[in-house]
Symmetry: C2
């Protein structure tokens, strides 16, 4: 029998826990038989929820964790004090090599801190960036770093570019992905101090396809496959994507209700419009991996439904199968 | 007879020059008789274009400038060398007090540099920020700074907050405008080094209505009236607004062409949709003032049509009438 890919799912993480994580886990098990899932959280809650479904019992394990880290808790303190929280217990399984990956829709801050403190970075990786896929007019791009390391240094951004490139090539399947740095103009001499320092370093990297600067205006058009930026800027981009999408949708709805003519039209276009806007929703594209750690940690959106949790779980399979961490070690000449 | 407000218009600036600036100037003259306009640029080109219209000749002047600064020229060098460019000649009129304001759709970089070097800052103002109005679901917000001063310091951001507040209150007419700083979380302890240093300083300001941090997701919802940020971040926000709006429009159009049902619906909703999306176009809200200079400098979008140029010109009237610069001097306790 083949060795299974062992994925830990935080049963208590996210706005819709424990329903969504458990439902998503059951669906992922049904869809792919290469995986084995460990649900971490309060055993009675997990058992009660699992009882609603039929599933392959041999591939599901429960590990008890009494505590839950809330969205409002200061992350460093929470990770240090709540040793029996689902995040800490789940991450420890990855740390000890008892699991390949950890998926959670819980507190971003706690997952970032836990990733660094509990799972730990690959030797030689200076910072572990959070790298969500964001939608573009012709596909998706990887936005790296998106909130993990504010005030990063140039050497960090160079590692992000390399790790992002490996991820896009091997997980998303983009050959020779175009890497660009977020800037306020296209020319090399433009930018703030960090970008000016990083640009020539990226230009020197032989192992990535660096295409130069990208202005924010060209990100939604798919101007690059790997969008490198400092975490503060990446966070602004990700959240503006979210906010602007929903504000526009709101305005469009309002506009469509403005006349009888447009009301009738609205009924006719509703299915097509919904599909389109869904494709452009940043939260739809699975979880965001925290790259450069000893095991894979995937952060799913806080409001994830079972579908997003399932996508995040299935994403871990190729990460593991493609040996992304070995590629990172080799490519970045670590160890 | 009342004293006129004297506005200089760069006849050579922007993608649609000289047609759009001159057409916009003529329309502004017709709409408001308090203004007098000086067109700066190549006299024969201006005269040929003006010949197409009928207008109040007493309120139009031409000042010749042989050179034009292109969009691709390095700004500092261009401003220093091209003394006879429409931007430098026009700004000198403001500097010498021969005009109240200068409007241009030309190179942003050259306008920013020219504003600082030719017009000059109000004594005590450390940096002059560019502050466009961006659309929100219920109106507009002022984004300050949007590209003028990367790597700004905390004391600069504090001045931006005060100037932005004065502008929103007196020009846009928002009573006691809510001022927020762009951040990656709502809590005071969140942020990068600059935000952490600036936040308590803003909190101490008695003359502004500081409401704390704003996450990028809440900007399109109108979460604050004055959005304070460092120029790199502001530029990313402004350009992503632009890029995401047009990418979504493209996807919606594509989606609507996907079935016969939606094609028919599309015909019915077209007028309403167009109006809605236009209201959400960042380039529609007139020009962006460069605040804190001895005279008013307004940067119109490079692709401005005559309508946007006219809006930018008319905007100068209230700036002048409300004595914004005197308010800035008084409020910021300068001189």
């Amino acid at each position: 029998m083949d060795e299974k890919i062992r994925i830990v799912v935080d049963a208590m993480g996210g706005d819709n826990a424990p329903e969504a994580p458990i439902h998503g886990a059951v669906d992922a098990l049904a869809e792919n038989n290469k995986i084995e899932i460990t649900l971490v959280g309060r055993t009675p809650d997990i058992e009660a929820e699992l009882a609603k479904y039929s599933y392959d019992k041999d591939r599901v394990h429960i590990v008890n964790a009494e505590d839950v880290i809330g969205f409002d808790e200061p992350p460093v303190e929470a990770i240090r004090k709540k040793k029996d929280s689902s995040i800490v217990v789940g991450m420890k399984l990855v740390k000890k090599g008892e699991a390949d990956a950890f998926v959670s829709a819980g507190s971003t801050g706690a997952i970032l801190v836990g990733g660094q403190l509990v799972v730990g970075r690959i030797r030689g990786i200076e910072r572990a960036p959070l790298a969500p896929l964001i939608p573009t007019t012709d596909g998706v791009s990887l936005l790296i770093d998106c909130g993990a390391n504010v005030d990063a240094r140039a050497s960090h951004l160079v590692q992000f570019a390399k790790m992002g490139s490996i991820y896009m090539e091997n997980i998303v399947g983009i050959k020779n992905p175009r890497v660009a740095i977020v800037n306020i103009g296209a020319e090399e001499e433009k930018g703030n101090a960090l970008v000016k320092e990083t640009y020539p370093l990226l230009k020197e990297c032989e192992d990535i396809n660096f295409i130069g600067s990208i202005e924010a205006r060209d990100i939604p058009k798919g101007g690059a496959d790997v969008i490198v930026c400092e975490a503060f800027v990446g966070n602004v981009i990700l959240k503006l994507y979210e906010g602007l999408g929903s504000a526009l949708l709101h305005k469009v709805k309002e506009g469509l209700m403005s006349s009888l003519r447009s009301k009738i039209g609205a009924l006719l276009i509703k299915p097509a419009l919904k599909k389109t806007l869904k494709a452009f929703d940043a939260s739809e594209h699975g979880g965001a991996p925290l790259l450069g750690l000893k095991g894979l940690v995937v952060k799913a959106h806080g409001s994830s439904s079972e579908v997003e949790i399932k996508t995040a779980i299935l994403q871990c399979i190729s990460f593991s199968e493609e040996g992304i961490n070995d590629r990172i070690r080799e490519n970045l000449k670590l160890d």
